[in-house]
Structures are given as C-alpha cells and as structure tokens.
Symmetry: D5
Subunit: 140 residues, 10 copies
C-alpha cells in the first residue's frame, strides 16, 4: 500500500493504466464477463466491485476529449436500465473529467472489448455492469 493510491488498485492495474496512451481503452468487466477469452491482457480484481474501481481509476486516468464518446456502457435493451448506472453516473460526474457517454448493446460491446488494451476481471455481481473507458491526454 502507498499514500495517495487507493488500495483497490493493484500493482498490475497501475502498470496497465500508466502504459496506456491516448485512445487506448480499458474494460471494467463484471464477474460473469468472459474476460480471459477475448484476447486483450487481463488484470484480475477478484472480490472487488466496479464502482470502487471506477472511482479509484479516475483519480489517475484522463478521459479522451477528442472523440465523441469516452465512456461506454453495455445496455440491457430494456426500458429499466441497470440500477448500477446511477452509481456510475455519480462517480463519473464527481471525477472532474468531461464525460461523453454512449451505450451499446451486448454484442457491440463485445466487439469493442476485443480491441481494448486491457480487461479488468472484477467480481461485480450487478448485471449489465460492464464499462469501457477511453484514455485521453494528460494536461500539463
């Protein structure tokens, strides 16, 4: 553990965040997501939920403001959207980043995930809880 680094960020996750560049994407995958068979490198986060990881990651990861969307959620295709989205919106707003949110259906999400830089395999139990973040440029 270190000062100023939330404890849910493992050494492997921090290394991935540091190595990503402008335009690279990271998937925060829920506990049922087939993370290991999609191709990108996997960072495991067993036992952790996505809200606490999302909150911690946004301390460090700038979001891409050059594109039309920098946060992508997996839609359940129903009128009633996944309740965890409320948590996500609150965390995203609190981050100070300029959020451009898009929702896509399950299979489009799968296609995006296969091209991501990294998939974080969490144990999030909420349904349709997967999130993609697109890294932006660090302002100096």
């Amino acid at each position: 553990m270190l000062k100023n680094i939330p404890k849910v960020i493992s050494p492997d996750l921090m290394a991935v965040l540091m190595k990503m560049g402008h335009g690279d994407e990271i998937v925060l995958a829920d506990g049922n997501f087939p993370a290991e068979s999609f191709g990108p490198q996997v960072v495991r986060a067993d036992g952790l939920g996505i809200p606490e990881l999302l909150d911690a990651i946004l301390n460090f990861l700038p979001l891409d403001t050059f594109v039309d969307e920098n946060v992508i959620l997996m839609d359940n295709g129903k009128e009633e959207k996944p309740p965890i989205w409320e948590d996500y919106k609150r965390i995203l707003e609190a981050s100070g980043e300029k959020i451009k949110l898009k929702t896509v259906d399950r299979f489009e999400f799968y296609n995006l995930a296969k091209k991501a830089y990294c998939i974080v395999a969490t144990s999030e139990t909420a349904l349709y809880a997967n999130v993609i973040l697109k890294k932006g440029v660090v302002e100096i």
Copy 2:
C-alpha cells in the same frame, strides 16, 4: 465466478489452497506486511480485507488437529489487543473447525512467515491483523 466459491477467492488463491498439504502454512498478511521480500510465493489480494478472506478460506481449508496450534496471530504486546481479533474469533468459531490459537510477537511471526507455503498480500488496514493458518487433513 463459480457457484459455491466465494468471490474473494481468486484462481491463484484457490490453486494454492488445493496444493497445500498437511502441515503447510498460509499467511494472511495485512496491507503493510512486507510480503514480497519474505521468500514464500505471494498471492495478491489487493483491495480485500482479511476477515472476508478468512471466512471464505475456512469453507475449504481444514485446520491441523495434530499439533498444539493451528491459528497464529501477531500480538501487539499491549494490554488492549487488536480489535480485529474479535472478528477473527467469531469467524473461526463459526467455521466448525477445531481451533487451537496461539499469539506470538512480531518477530517470531516474521520467522514463521518466512517458512510458510504462501503469503496472501491483502489490503487489510487494521493494525496487527496478520494471521497464519496451518492446514490439516481432509476427513473422508
């Protein structure tokens, strides 16, 4: 994630538990423990606390009843013992295992940890929260 396996148990932690044999010891190390420099293999559990891990592990790990102690805690040398010990005692009792508890001082604990089979590097923030478990025999 699987049915009947608590989500705090990662694939690596499960493999370690399965490979341990009678008399092998596992250290549940708090977030300040120098886990990586002690020698035994390390399984990381960033973001997790020890009580939830202890509870999950005791679903699978039998404790050794052939010896004088099978659970070892690190003592703070003070009259007021670490508050987290109360959690541990409750979890241990609820496990159905026959508990033989011993407390040792910090440096004796270090010596035991260096000979353990594995150290689980948690993010437990409570002080003097380290635990050693000694594996027993599976009753058929």
Copy 3:
C-alpha cells in the same frame, strides 16, 4: 485436497473453471480425442473418466440459460446411442441446472471444440463420450 472440492478437480481445472465467463465453453474429451492439436489450452486428467468429472464440475459451473443449448454431445450417427449418454443424462438432471441438450455429428463437434476455452483431456474409454458445456451466469 480441500473440503467441499471433489478430488477429481485438479488445481489447473479449478482455475480454468473460475476464469471462464458467460458463454465460454469447456470440452470434456475422451481418451482418444486429439485434444492437444485443436488449439485451446488443455487441462490433463489422465486416468479419469468423464462421468465423475461432469458430476464434480456441475457443483460449480452454472450452465448458460440465455442460449438454445448448453450441453452438446457427439452423436455416433447410429440408431443405438452411446450407452454413456444415460450416465450423462442422470448426472445432468441431478445437477439442478436447467439443461438444454443438443447432439451434433463428429465434425461439427470438432469445429465447436476448436473454439472452446479449454479442453479437458480425460482417459474416458467409452466411445463417443465427448461433452461440451457452455458456462452461464452465476445467480447471486
């Protein structure tokens, strides 16, 4: 060995089951199956038969209920079906999972196996004994 984990499940097999996600498939391959040349990672289970493994795996692996089939058998193309199918049906029913069974011919089975997440190389000697299981979502 651990409490509550059947002894036919090796550490490597357990890790694979834990890492699989929704929609990933695992092949239980008989002793003549060309497991090592098909591409997916192989977990060896020399000396073991498929019924005991199937029974053990279904303690942990939920089957996919979002699709039309979650258990796929290799058909011998004859009127008299492989006798081991009776064992399989009994085990599947006893599992409590909602079974959606399909049979395919040998070459279609091969094509499915090449896209699986893992192939378990057993020593099952019964003919046409191969099985594919499709992992579902863990209900919380």
Copy 4:
C-alpha cells in the same frame, strides 16, 4: 492414450520414470501429503489412488536390488497397520520385482521424501498410504 501404457500414467509421470536412474527415488504421496513444499519436482495425479498407480508403474520401473530396501512405507506407529498395506503387498508381489520392504516413521519418511527425484501428488484418501520406490537397473 496408447497401447500397453495404463491410462493412469500421464505423459509427465512417464517422462519422470524414464529420466530417473539407478538409485533415484519416487514418492507416491497421498492426498494430504505436503507434496508441493518439499522441494522435489511434483507430478500431479489428482483424482487417482495409489494402488492403481503403483500397479501401473511397476510395469516399467525396476526396483533397486543393490540396496537393503527398495520400497519404503510410512508407519502409523500403531499395532494395527494401515489396511492399504495389504493392497500394496499384493501388488508388489504380483510385479515380479524382488521386493525389499522397509517401514519408517512419519518424520523419517519426510526426510527421505525431501531427497527424492519426484513426488507424485495423488488423491489417495487412505491414511498412512505414502510409498517410496527406489529405481534399479534395467536388465538387458
């Protein structure tokens, strides 16, 4: 699977048997034995018992006739010896090898195991079921 090779012998176990030389020892360890922490390389045989492995191995492994003992059992220190010894004696006699049997207590057995060439981690559930075999010379 091959003709003339019993199916309980995995590729890894066969390789170990072939690479051992005169005087090298192999431990058939029961399911509670701390195989992975003793030092020698480990071949896993999850789900298998020792009698079937012992029987299969003796088709290939000559026992050492230059020494005073070539089969070593772990004694339970009781008048009533482990029932599985009867199985072992029957299998050893049927092997055609010249058997020189010794029993040692648990801790002497541990010391021998630490110097062995290989430990086979079985799932044998019988107590005090561990066996050491000392390889001899192939007669041409």
Copy 5:
C-alpha cells in the same frame, strides 16, 4: 531406461505419442528433412535410424482404421522404389496393426508434414525414407 520401453524412445518422444489423439499424424523424418522449418513441434532423435524407431513406436501407437490410409511414404518417382521400404513393410506387418499404405510425391508429403502434430528429426541416411503415421483409437 525402463522395462518394456525400447531405448530408442526418448522421454520427449513418448510424451508426444501419449498426447496425440485420433487422427493426429507424426512424421519420422530422415536426416536431410527440413524438420525445424516446417512448423510442427520437433522431437530430435540424432544418431538414430527410422526402422528402429518405427518398430519401437508401433508397440504403443495404434493406427487409424477409420480412414483410407494410415501410413504415408514419400515416393522417389522412380521405377525402383527406395530399398528401405522393404524394411518398413516388414516392420509394419509385424506390428499387428491393420496397415493402409499410401505413397505421395515429395511436395504432397511436405504439405502433409506441415499439418502434422510432430516431426521426429532422425539421422536416417537412406534416401526417400520419410514416413507419416496416423494415430488411431485405442481398443479397450
């Protein structure tokens, strides 16, 4: 060395034979064959000829009887066939396997070799001495 295993079979060769399944092919390549550049894994057998290896392998490897050919030789395109074929035929007949022999020209042989499971790089000095064996099913 072991009892009942011919000494020309190395630990690596035995492992390959055991891991192959129904329909997998193994190439016994002569000393001039470009074994290492064809793609499949290579098992080296420097100093050994093909007849002794063929004879040894057929103690363990069943040939495929479900297909039109299970032994494939490289034809020299001449009226006078390679003299070593006489050795091969004698060994194949003595094996007790049901032989279905085919000959192909050098380039068709190359194409088959590139899809094989394994190439054994021998030091056979006879010309046009290469052989492919197709593994069958072990009869129980």
Copy 6:
C-alpha cells in the same frame, strides 16, 4: 502518463513501491553505483537524477517511524559533505514525513544495499549521492 503521478516514476518503479512493505528498503543509486551486481532487483532510471526521483517517490512512500533511522546517506568521509545533501534535506523536509537521517560510510552502505528490496539505477552524476529509504506504515 497519468494524472497525479510524476512522470519520472516508471511503471516498474511504481510496482516496486506498491509491493514493498513495512521495513523494506529501496536504494536510489547514482550512475556509478554497481547496482546490477548487488543482488536485489534493479529498476533502471537512465537519464534521471536522484533529487527529482526522491521528490516524486515521497508523494507515495511513507517512511518508517518505528526505527531509529529511515533515510540513510553514503558519507564521503570528508569535512565538506556532498553538496547534493542540501537538496535532499530540502526535499525530505518538504515531504511532510518524519525524517530520521543517518549517514554511513561507503562499505556499510554497500552492506545495507545488498539487503534492500530494490535498487533504482539512476544516472545521477553527483558524487556520494546514494540514498536508502525505509518504508513505513500507511496511516488510514
């Protein structure tokens, strides 16, 4: 690059800082230090000086307050101390950590460095510029 992580901290250096525990030591070695032959793992920081690294590291690394010294410098044995020490003192004071500084001669420093958790191989050109930091406990 990330927000809130100084750019002189590489992914490897961050991983090392995160994995260190209470009492582990890190050496910031100047460009002439024989970092690679001392035993501990080396993190390279070619082109960088020690002051900028020290400043960056102290954003994250708590110093050990349970011991008599937590910062150790290599003394030049002269009346006039290395000028870079003035930079170090300013940076250490500005860190907010409770500093306990000790100076040792070159050979005692070498002995300490050999037992450290990690050596950072910088390109610092100042003489007698080496520093050891001892990690403390993260206050929650």
Copy 7:
C-alpha cells in the same frame, strides 16, 4: 554509465539502435502516445523528453540517404506548428547527418509507427512531439 555514451541512452535503447539495420525505423513517442498497443517492441524512457534523446541518438544513428525522407514528424494540421519542432530542427542540423524531413498527419503517422522496429516511450509533454527516424548505412 560509460564514457562517450550520453546518460539518457539506456542499455535497452542502445541495444535497439545497434540491432536496427538499413531502412529500419524508430519512433520517439511523446508521453501520451499509445506506444504499448501498436505492436513494435517498446523501450521505456520515463521521465525523459524527446530533444535530449534525439540529440543523443544522432551521435550513433546514421540517417538513410537512399530515400526521400528520413525524419518524419506528426503534423498538428494547424498554421502554427508545434514549437518543439524548432528544437528538433536545430538538433537535426547540428547532427551532421543529411536530413530529409517530412510531415504527415496523425493517422498516417500511426500507420508508420505500427511498422517501426521500435517505439521509445518518453515522457515528453509537448504536443505533437512524435518523431520517426529511418536508419541509414554506416560509412566506413
């Protein structure tokens, strides 16, 4: 550190420069460039800027004079060009190499970078600071 080798050149960077041949390209990537996801091997240069690296590299790397361009910059598509280009031009002129400079837009630069021999991941904070160098022939 060595005599006559600038300290910003790490052992890994030097090895890459030495192994490159006529026509191979190296990318000096700024701190926001997605270096790790583009395919070529990455040499990290955390904490360093591009001008000091460019200057150091040109002591050793000859530029290709057989082609129409040997230095490629990423254009910002604006009238006002990146200020760091002035530094680059001064360094390039001072190198004594025959410079053939080309500018391309961001996406054409990406395509070139994906085919490069190596990407150096610097911490350069200037925008549109990326450079590609094409290696030439060493004149003897």
Copy 8:
C-alpha cells in the same frame, strides 16, 4: 573452441547449421542489413566479416544440387560488381561444392531473406556483400 571447428563458428551458428535441412536457406548479412526486423531467427556474429564465415560454413554445409541456384548474391545494379564477389567466388570454388550462383536485386533479395531459416548478422562493411546459401543433402 574445438579441434576441427573454425573459431568463427559460434555454438549458436553451429546449432543452426545442424538443424537446417534440405532446401532451407541461411543469409549471411552484412553489417547494415536489417537482420532483426525480417522475421527469421538471427544469429549474431558481431565483429566478423562474411568471407571468413563463408569459408568456415562450407566445411560443413552441403549446397543443394537439386535446384537451379544454391548461392544467391545481392546485385548492386551497376556495371562494376561488388569487389567482395571475387573473394566469394574463390571461396566457393575452393569448397568442393557444386556451385549454382544467381544474382538478384536488393528487393528480391529481401523477399528471399524473409523466408530464410536463419539470418547471420555479421559486421561485414563491404557494400552489397549479402549472401544466401541453400542447404543440400549430405552424401553418405
């Protein structure tokens, strides 16, 4: 060093020559050749020239007599051919091998090199000094 092996042949180069088979090609690349980016495995021969290597290799490597060319040189497209070709011709003639020489232009040479078994990265400073050798059959 060994008797009867010229000292310019390194252990790695010898291993490559031994593992090559009939029809495999080896490139002797000059010091400016982009050896490491072409794909085939590279054997380094820093500090050595091609004539001494060519002479040494031809003690062991038979050239292919089944094809139209077994030695391929890179042409400079000028009337005056590279002076080093005279050395090559003398060495080739002295080898006792039946030489079938072809010259190709730079880009055709590159295409051939990309399909070779191995590229030897020499420090030959002569221009247009690259050579491809095609291995033949060892006559017994």
Copy 9:
C-alpha cells in the same frame, strides 16, 4: 546433418562441447546412470551407446594434458573388468590424443560427476560403462 560432423552428435551436444573450456569435464553416462538428479545440465542421447559417442566426440574435444588424468572410468571392483573398456581403450588410442587414464570406484565417480560441466544421458546397456573426459587446450 552436416558434412564432417558424425550423426550421433546432436546440436545440443555440439553446443556443450564448444562451450566447455580447459579443465571442464563431460560425463558419458550409461542408460542406468541417475543423470538427471546429479545437478549438471543433461544432454540426452536416447538410443545411443557410449562407444560411438566417444569416438565421435574425440574428433573435436582435445584432452587435458596438464593434469594427471583426463579419462576416468568407473571401476566394478572386480578382477574381471567391464568388457566395454576394451572398446574404449581402442577408441582412445585411435584418437591421437595423449591419454591419461584413471579408474575410480562408483561413489568417487558419482562425486566427480556432480561437479562436471555436462552429463550425456545415453542408452548404453553395458554395465560400468560410464566415462568422464576432461577437456584440454586447442593447439593452434
């Protein structure tokens, strides 16, 4: 295969011979020798006998003439010496090397073998057939 290299010498064996220096020892171990448990690296030569290997190796390996013995045999302690020694003496004499032969008992041989540079694991079936060769200096 190559010209002028006997086919019993594998690429791995040749590499070992080339890398050995003055005073290094190589063990030619018979098929019952516990080669893999003695410590030095092992080169396998399954299916081969020692005389053919000894003969081939002495084409390349000079023997050490600075010491009192450069060939060491394992004595059977009987009046009648191992018949294969006659083969060895004939081969050694024919080698042109200056032979200084010593015989030691089995356990002294074991001690020497544990300090050798390499052990060649042959399938020699003759008893007491093990040989150690001590490498000398190449005369230029």
Copy 10:
C-alpha cells in the same frame, strides 16, 4: 552497426558495459578459458581476439583509480612473459586511462574471475591471454 561504436562490440557486450558500476570487473577470456562453468554471465565473442576487444572497450569503460590495481593479467610463471602482453600494454597506454597493472597466477586469476560481473568468451588463441578490467567512475 552504429557510428562511433567499434564493430567488435556486440549489443550484449555494450549492455554489460553500461550496466557495470564502480568496482565491477569484466574478464576478457581466451578461447580455452572455461568461461561457461565459472558462474558469472557470459557474453560470447566467437571469432574475435582480445586485443581488438580491449581497444574497443577502453573507448567506453573508465578504469578504477581508487584501488591498487585495475588491470589484472594471468601470469605464465615463466621468465618469458606472454608476447601478447606487449600488445596489451600498448593498447592500455593509448587509452588515456590511468593504468594500475597486476599479474597473478592461474589459480588466483580463476578465483577473481568467479567473482566478476561478466566473462567475455573470445576466440583468442594466444596462451595466457586472459585479462580482467575493473570499472571506475565516469568523470563528468
């Protein structure tokens, strides 16, 4: 190849020179030296002599001036010293470094070599040609 780097310096040798620090030693070993069995990492320089390497290395490697000797030669114990020493002395003098030369006998040299940072395995054929260099501090 690069400008300003002599071609006898391979990428591996350069990396070693760069990673060495004050007091680390490098052995330039002749072609008969048992480089691979002494323990330190080995950089191969097959085909090269020591004088050309020594000359090239001294362009970059400062020698240690804090100790009594920084160049150590292996003495032949005879009145007539190895003729190659004359070359060495000329090269050392021309280097501009402050040379402190010592000669030791063969076995003392061996002891020093076992503690070196690296051994360069050259093909130098001169006798008693081995050299140890002790790295000093880079003067800025």
